[in-house]
Every structure is written in C-alpha cells, then in structure tokens.
Subunit: 328 residues, 2 copies
C-alpha cells in the first residue's frame, strides 16, 4: 500500500528542514536558490505534490473561485463557465462549480463556499439575500454578481449595459419600419429582464409606437409558447424583441410552425449572441453581450480584491453590439 | 478588521478543548452529546465554519470531486455537469470543474487535481495517457471515464451500450424501408464514435445494405458541412445516422436549406437525446443516453472506492432507448 508523499519525505531526501520545503512552495516565503534546487530535485524524484490545503492553512488563502450557476439549459452560461475556467487557469486558480436549483443561493451552497474558504465568488444567474452577501463580506471574500445586479448598493456587479442595448434595439427596429412591437420578458425578478424592458419601452413611448409586453421565463419553451399564445390572441406584431436568444429561437420555431415568415411577416431579435444564434437554421439577429470583456473585468476585480481586500462595490456596465443576421 | 473565527475561539467560548471542537466536525471521531451541543452552540454564536482544508489534513480526505470536461458547446455535457453537481451535493461533495482545451488531459490539469487531493475524478469527453492515469492510481484517487472508454484495461468506465444502440438504430431504419445509408462519425479517436460506427455497419453488412461513412467532429457546424458536402457529391442517402444529436441538427438545417424534406426525402436520426432534439423546430428522432443511470452508477462506484480504495476496473455499459419523433 503506497502512502502519499509528504513534505517530511521531501525534506529528508533533500537533507533540509521541513520548513524549508514549505518555504519553497508557499508564496512570498524567502528561501535560498540552493535550498530551492535541492527541494525541487527531491520533490521530482519522489513525485511530491504540495498540498493546497496545507498551503491554505499557512497563507489563509486558497486558489479556488466559487462559481454559482443555475441555468445550464441556456447555452449562454456554459459558455461563461468555459471562459471563466480558462481565464482563471492562467492565473493559477481553479473553479468550484456550484449548481443552484433555485433563483436564490441556498444556505447549504453558501456553507460549502465558506467551508472551502474560497478566494472569491462569482454569482451568475442567481441572486442572494443581503444577509448571505454580508456573510461573505464578514469573511472578507470578494464577490461579483455577473450578468445580474443587486438592488442594494455596496456590491460589485458586471453586466452588459442592458438599458443602452435595449434602447438601441428599439431604434434599430423602428429604423426598419416596424410599426408595432412586442417584448417577451424573462423572469420578472431579474435585473436583466427589467432593464431590457425599460430601455425598449422608453424609446417606443418617446416615438409614440404601440407595444405589448408578454411575460415569459428565459427558456426556449417559454418563447415558443408565448409566440403561440400571441397568435391565438390574434396579435402578430411587426417586430418581436425577445429578452434572450434562447427564447427568440422558440419564437422563430413557433412562427415557422404557423407558416409565418421571418422577417417577411414579422421581425425577431434576441439578446446574448449565443452560438446557436449564428446557426444557419436560425440566423438570428441579436444583441451581443461582451462576454470576454465582462469575464476580464470580473477577474481583474477579483484579483485586486484577493491581493488586498477592500470590499469595493460598483455596478460596472459594458457596452455590447448589434449583430445583424437574417431575422430582421 | 474582522478576523476569521477559528476552532480556538469556539473552544474558548464553549469551555472545551480545541481537540473536542475538531472531533465534533471530523467524521468518525467520538465525542459526547453534551460536548457536541456546547460546541455547536458556540459555533452558531460566533459564525464558525469548520475549515475543509484543516479537516482534509487530519482525515487525509477531501469532499471534492474533479470533473474534467472539454466540449461545453455540446449541450449534452452541461446537462451531465448539472446532474453530477446536483447528485454529489446530496452526498456532501462539491465539484471542481476542470475545462480542458485538448482531447487529452494536460499535465497542469492533473497537477491541479492532485494538489487539491480530490476524493475522485471523472473524465467526460477527454482521454488521458496511461502514465497520467497511473498517477491517480499511485495516489489512490478513484477515476471514472464517463461516456468514454480507455483502450487499456484496469480502469472504470461508464458508457451507454453504444454497440447495441447503433445495431438497434440500423435495424430500426431498415424496418422503415431505407435502402442506402450514411453514417456521420464524430472525432475518430473517441470510443463512442468508433463503437457507434461498428454496430451500425455490422447490421448493414449482414443485411447487404449499401452505406457510406462520412468523417466529422461531433459539432453542429461539422454536421451541417458534411450534409452539404454529401449533396454536392451527388449523394442523398435514404437515411442518415449522425454520431450525436448536435451534428444531426446541423444535418437537418443543411437539408432544410437545400429544400430537402425530412423525413420525406431522407430520414435523419441522432444520438444522445439532448433537450434540443425535442424542440419543435427539430423534432429529432434519436437514441437516448441513460444519463441519470450513468451518473448514478458513476457516483456509486466513486463512493465505494472513496470508502475503501480497491482500484477496481470495469467497462460498465448501460442500455439506452429509442425516442421516436418526426425525422424518420
């Protein structure tokens, strides 16, 4: 039965003290070049892996980022997960994936993140109570809301500029000559859906253009069903703005089923620019979220706060861009 | 500046020794009901979180499972990730997500998993060299290949029974009267694609039915382009078996673009039964992978091996089922 190789074994083979072995592996510790060489040679020979848990007890820091995600059904989020994991790897950080069933982060998930003493936390498509957010603050764990804003201030969030985006979407559709509109909302308790509705409606009101709001849920099935309900209600607007791409794909399929031609009979525009929006089967015109830039800013903030915790809060908004394809 | 609450603080408030606090939180340690109650009350009052790293140093075990994944573009894998994370949470385990860019697990990823002393590893759509697999074995870390088989024996893998599945697919299409066939393969170095081809071809050969093999890559774009190439080459088979669903969706869209009616002009069948296969825009007939059962068996194996490491190897294959929709 082979035992795990320990720092003690390495120290013995290298002919140095155990604390010298520690100093080689723990950041910021001073150690002579000669000792370092001896330790690394011995570690190589024995196949020693410095234990991250031991390191964390000494430095009181881990190299783990907790990433909380709900909706893996929406391809936007796996894409975000991939980009974060790839970018964090370059910084020497690993991602602890926390899947939450509920819109709000549950106590057990918070306990997990606190127990692992994560270096930072990213909340994507979920919210948390203020009490829970304060728990992280009390433990000096930096926190970013990604693609979500908290109503209360004092926290850091990174979003696409949803207000400006939906204003631009409205202006674009008006410019294409559409005379009446529908907005299909996502879950009403999300900042993204509220802001996309707000900016869109603002421009339509200013222009005196009629519109209707349909409540949906950011899923393909929701978009599909909403479009069918719209038609059953005898309403075919000149243009439909769906709160995200995956709903827009459902809308297109519902129209296709009812032999309504897009963009001939009605125009459809989405939000996100997921890979599927570019599939030839859809060719969805949409608003692209600047994921790369959003990921970059999130990591930048977390690294700064990990370096020196300030608990700095700000709602950062980044401009996206229109991607024209075939549905408008 | 608030400091992290330690076991020492809890011990002080509870009026017990620090080792009593440890015993309350570390599995299998004996402690009186009275002491346990005192410690838990003090921990509650102070907001103490037992540190998993400290625990792991004492028990030499963590509650982290490393999950290695490459292709988040294929919705099959986010679905798998969600199911694993949800099921592990019930067992008190968390998932360290490792995204690998390459088909083969890289050395740096292996180091990460070893450094965190993960309790177990699941490799989904990637492979690893025998040397790397032996590294995990040497560290007594149980390993499961999920939806992939290694060529070498002695390792545990959990797959759908791909041979039986593709034989059934061939028999089903023959039963529908199709007279010539195409198989669109995934990446040729994957066991899944090889076995799906093998079972399919076996039945066609037995029945004396002509077929062609087209090499692709398990992506939507690959399926789309392969179907276009097929048509440009003047070949419209009576039925197309795509090695996975996401390629089948690409095939359907390419046929749609060229005004070829499915299933009227040609039939299309996929493999996986991802959510999108059921979308009304596609209605894809496919072979369902028994993900829930596959996840359950994987977790069962890992928990057994974590309980008592045996390094037990076996290629477990689970039967899937045909899901009939509108494309055949």
């Amino acid at each position: 039965m082979k035992q795990m190789v320990t720092a003690k074994d390495v120290a013995k083979l290298a002919g140095v003290s155990q604390s010298s072995v520690s100093r080689v592996y723990f950041e910021g510790a001073k150690v002579s070049a000669k000792t370092r060489a001896k330790v690394l040679a011995a570690a190589e020979e024995l196949g020693y892996h410095p234990n991250e848990f031991a390191r964390s007890l000494i430095t009181n820091r881990t190299k783990i980022i907790g990433l909380v995600m709900k909706g893996v059904q929406n391809p936007f989020y796996p894409q975000v997960l991939k980009q974060f994991t790839t970018a964090f790897k370059k910084q020497g950080y690993s991602v602890l994936f926390v899947h939450t069933q509920n819109e709000e982060l549950q106590r057990e998930d918070v306990e997990t993140l606190l127990n692992y003493n994560v270096a930072g936390v990213i909340i994507t498509d979920a919210t948390m109570s203020l009490t829970v957010a304060e728990d992280f603050r009390a433990n000096r764990i930096p926190l970013v809301f990604f693609n979500r804003k908290l109503n209360t201030g004092g926290f850091y969030s990174v979003c696409c500029n949803n207000l400006n985006a939906s204003r631009e979407v409205a202006r674009y559709l008006i410019g294409k000559g559409a005379k009446d509109f529908a907005y299909i909302s996502g879950n009403s308790d999300t900042s993204t859906s509220r802001e996309r509705e707000e900016g869109f409606v603002e421009i339509l009101e200013q222009s005196g253009i009629p519109y209707r709001i349909y409540q949906s849920d950011y899923t393909y099935e929701g978009g599909y069903q909403t479009a069918l309900n719209m038609l059953e209600g005898g309403h075919l607007p000149a243009a439909v703005f769906a709160g995200n791409d995956i709903m827009a794909l459902g809308v297109i399929d519902a129209f296709r089923k009812k032999s309504i031609h897009v963009p001939g009979d009605t125009k459809v525009i989405g939000f996100d620019n997921i890979d599927m929006a570019g599939w030839p089967g859809y060719g969805l015109t949409t608003w692209e979220q600047p994921i790369e830039k959003m990921v970059e800013e999130t990591i930048h903030y977390l690294m700064d706060e990990i370096e020196e915790y300030k608990g700095f809060g700000r709602a950062l908004e980044i401009e996206g861009r229109l991607v024209e394809r075939e549905t408008v």
